[in-house]
């Protein structure tokens, strides 16, 4: 079967993000329930929800043994996207200025938070100046790479930069499906009659075999979490490290295949986890 993933030049990122949609997948409630059912069913009642997102899919769905703790490296995306908003919307002139502003804001916010808070603001308020500087450095690199990759003048409508993950809690399947998008752009369908969206997902490294599944899962999460039961028309992946870019046009068939792919991975993970427990 040929891959539905279209590789594009990174120089075409903006054009792909803003091109009119050729297909807009909308669902009735029943169709959406049917789509959810493709994600399988869980026999592990009472257990916590399995988190399924691009990170856990890549790392085999295993839950990290150590609790999450902020580091400068982990802060780069949050700081970078906040900075990008400031630059794109003209509040700051450069990513460097924007990240510094955002860190200052978070530090002011964080000093009032309890010391045990797990928020980035609390971390930045309590960490050493060196770690804070390192977080700024990470954020500047992230924001600059993304800022330089997009032709911001082409946007006639403001894109959403760094909105919260789309989250679909699927109790019957025992999973929490999350879809990340760094940029969400409003686009029209080809006739101009319907407004839909394209989503840019920033990925690490190079295009790999699982890129289609990862993009599809982000689209599936966005669809299941959407209030109007509409799928994003297009997912665009950008890999700053390699300059690669790829497009996945979202159809009903793509979402179904994605759901089945996730279901298989979840089943494999649960089987393997159960076997380890038994051993």
């Amino acid at each position: 079967m040929t891959s539905p993933l279209r590789r594009i030049e990174a120089s075409a990122l903006t054009k792909e993000l803003l091109a009119p949609a050729t297909n807009v997948a909308t669902f009735t409630r029943d169709e959406l329930r049917h789509l959810e059912s493709r994600l399988g069913t869980s026999s592990t009642e009472g257990e916590g929800l399995l988190r399924v997102d691009s990170w856990t899919l890549r790392s085999g769905l295993g839950v990290p043994e150590s609790p999450f703790a902020w580091t400068p490296h982990f802060a780069k995306r949050s700081l970078g996207l906040a900075a990008l908003r400031l630059v794109v919307f003209g509040v700051a002139a450069t990513p460097q200025e924007a990240v510094a502003r955002e860190v200052d804001r978070l530090v002011r916010l964080g000093v009032d938070q309890p010391p045990r808070s797990s928020s980035l603001a609390a971390y930045l308020a309590s960490c050493s100046p060196a770690l804070r500087t390192a977080a700024i450095a990470h954020g500047v690199t992230y924001a600059t790479e993304l800022f330089c990759a997009i032709d911001w003048k082409s946007f006639t409508r403001h894109p959403l930069i760094g909105s919260p993950d789309a989250t679909a809690v699927l109790r019957s399947q025992g999973i929490s499906l999350r879809g990340r998008a760094e940029l969400i752009c409003d686009i029209d369908d080809a006739s101009g009659a319907q407004l839909t969206e394209s989503r840019l997902v920033v990925m690490h490294g190079v295009i790999e075999d699982d890129t289609t599944l990862l993009l599809g899962s982000a689209a599936l999460a966005a669809t299941l979490a959407s209030s109007d039961r509409t799928a994003p028309a297009r997912m665009v992946a950008f890999f700053p490290t390699s300059g690669q870019a790829a497009v996945l046009d979202i159809t009903e068939n793509i979402l179904t295949r994605t759901a089945l792919g996730i279901a298989k991975r979840v089943e494999n993970y649960r089987t393997s986890a159960a076997e380890s427990l038994a051993a």
Binding site: T94, P129, A130, L131, I136, A137, C148, V206
Partner: protein, 275 residues
């Protein structure tokens, strides 16, 4: 811990290079404006095709991913030797220090600050363990050296305008041979806004040792990766020694990139079986 291959800190003859500082250094990083020419839009594609052909010939039907790094260009087949040396660890600390310096200027405690940051980076766990295992005398020696590099940076490194979009520790990669061969590297500093029509970025590599020609070759490899990943070559490559203040800078030409492709192909051929 016994320290092998330790470089003794001393004034080093710069072999025709001199220590640069402030505006002089900035001028060398920027290069003459006349040296920037519109790109040959087919260049990156041609270089990639050449590399792909060579990968196919060198690897035949071997399966598995071969990762090519700058060290493989200058270190022959010793790429799997992952033992840490004192120089490597000092270099990692100085590179981190440089990152902090570019971001927020000089630090009062450069060694402590750089180590603290280094210890949080997952890729530097082995470096952190190396430092933690140093005896007190060696640790103090390392700290003295790092302070010297910090002072040198403070005295010599120019202020970069934020409008030049300086960004640090920029990872770069590209794939060849249908994803079977990865070229990977990291630039300590990238200056300039990438453009599609004109080479406009400068890649900077930081060294904590006196400079030698292998450093230039390693940075040329990064220049090649940048050309392949973005389709546009950098306009300038600069390797800077935080020890001596020397800088090896050059304009990126078609010949330079072609030579680097040839060196990269030699490295791929020398690797034999995939990792």
């Amino acid at each position: 811990m016994v320290l092998a291959e330790r470089t003794v800190l001393q004034a080093t003859e710069p072999r025709g290079l001199t220590a640069l500082a402030g505006d002089q250094l900035l001028d060398v990083l920027r290069g003459p404006k006349t040296s920037r020419h519109p790109i040959d839009t087919g260049l990156a594609g041609g270089l990639r095709a050449w590399l792909n052909d060579a990968c196919f010939e060198a690897r035949g039907d071997q399966v598995g991913t071969l990762v090519v790094t700058k060290k493989m260009l200058t270190g022959g087949t010793h790429v799997r030797d992952s033992r840490l040396t004192y120089e490597f660890v000092r270099g990692a600390i100085v590179a981190t220090l440089f990152r902090l310096f570019i971001t927020s200027g000089p630090s009062e405690n450069p060694y402590a600050d750089a180590c603290e940051v280094l210890f949080t980076e997952p890729q530097h766990h082995a470096t952190a363990a190396f430092i933690a295992a140093l005896n007190e005398r060696d640790r103090r020696g390392l700290e003295r050296e790092v302070r010297l590099h910090a002072r040198n940076l403070e005295r010599r490194w120019p202020t970069l305008s934020p409008t030049w979009m300086p960004r640090t520790a920029v990872s770069m990669a590209t794939t060849l041979d249908g994803g079977q061969v990865h070229l990977r590297g990291m630039a300590d500093l990238v200056i300039g806004v990438s453009r599609r029509d004109l080479p406009s970025i400068c890649l900077v590599s930081i060294r904590s040792t006196p400079l030698h020609h292998a450093h230039r070759d390693e940075l040329r490899f990064l220049g090649l990766i940048e050309t392949l990943r973005s389709g546009v070559p950098p306009f300038r490559l600069a390797t800077y020694s935080t020890l001596t203040g020397e800088v090896l800078a050059e304009a990126v030409t078609e010949d330079l990139l072609k030579n680097t492709v040839a060196v990269t192909i030699s490295a791929i051929r020398a690797q034999g079986a995939p990792q």
